[in-house]
Symmetry: C3
Subunit: 154 residues, 3 copies
């Protein structure tokens, strides 16, 4: 890989991940599944983070169910991406996520800070996620009565 090829690979992996979290927050589950390799494994759906779930559609279905009725915002920060070869790479992405839902007139929220730790392969000309883990630094949560809001866009 020459310098330009490396820079393009880094850019493509960034764009893949930006797309993944947008699909996640906009609940575009087809688009979300499409960011993973068919036989990708995700360790972020189990309570202990150790049991893997395999298959891009199975992963998307699991995340969809876990987030039913929940509004989310996932934010990715400056990553460390390592190109291992022409068609494989790893990355650590700082990730914050906010989950927000209502239940019995109360608003519940959960805010997490941590890192995605991922492996990618280039398959058929496209970079895809093949392994996905989540490690946590800080978790916050709360609940409060919702208040009416009229907020102009900005």
């Amino acid at each position: 890989m020459d310098d330009i090829q490396r820079l393009i690979a880094l850019q493509d992996i960034r764009a893949l991940m930006a797309r993944r979290v947008r699909c996640l927050d906009e609940k575009d589950w087809m688009g979300f599944a499409d960011c993973y390799a068919e036989d990708a494994i995700s360790y972020s759906l189990s309570a202990n983070g150790e049991t893997g779930v395999r298959g891009n559609r199975v992963i998307a279905e699991g995340v969809k169910k876990a987030l039913e009725g929940v509004a989310t915002a996932h934010n990715l920060h400056e990553p460390e991406i390592q190109l291992v070869s022409e068609d494989s790479a790893t990355a650590i992405w700082p990730l914050n996520d906010l989950l927000s839902w209502e239940k019995e007139g109360k608003r519940y929220w959960l805010r997490g800070y941590g890192h995605y730790r991922q492996v990618y392969k280039k398959i058929g000309g496209r970079w895809l996620i093949t392994e996905h883990r989540l490690t946590r630094l800080i978790m916050e949560h709360g609940n409060e009565a919702p208040a009416p809001m009229v907020i102009p866009n900005r």
Copy 2:
């Protein structure tokens, strides 16, 4: 456009947007206006997000007025940028903003999560925003009595 030109364009659009939000948060309204094309249109100043405001100085003036006495922090996350041609592009940027102000001894705050959806043109050798929209995922707000703070820099 060859690969290097594409990479430079992506980088230039990133830097443009980093500058836009810094100028916004540091209330540098000349610098803020300078990030937009002269005849740019912004849909983020109206309550419904549908009515556009045209003109980079008119947009800057409108944002300035809306944020008088309000401290802000706008955070951009990993974007999806599409180069349409040598001199036009679109992007979706995940955006969080925090607004903080005091009124009658209370501190009010508003925290928003969403996406900027933008169009850019390269005019006179510089990438500039020509269209700006904001869509929202989650809004939070609150108010509380302010407390004295002495915080070391870190």
Copy 3:
């Protein structure tokens, strides 16, 4: 510097900073010190932000002490990086940090929004931080009784 060299330098400085905040949040103090030049100066350890602390190990030791028993999450957003020459650069990075700790059964937290303003040199083939400042836009803080949490990874 040609275009490719500039793009690589920008990428290397991004990766340096991603590594710095990961080491900081994972309390890898050797890795943290390794992101600074040996004679680097940091202005973010003094209460006024004006008194500098010199030396990468001294800086790391000072930050380590200040954050004992404190969980942190530092998030970097889209930067403005200026390449001054082949081996020197400056940058402004939007930075949010969350600090979280417990004391006498209460959870205390501090959330800051601002900018890192830095100088880098390329020394022995590696980009390193030589000057580090922090300016603030907004500070928030609070305390509350901690609640038990069982949260699945996601």
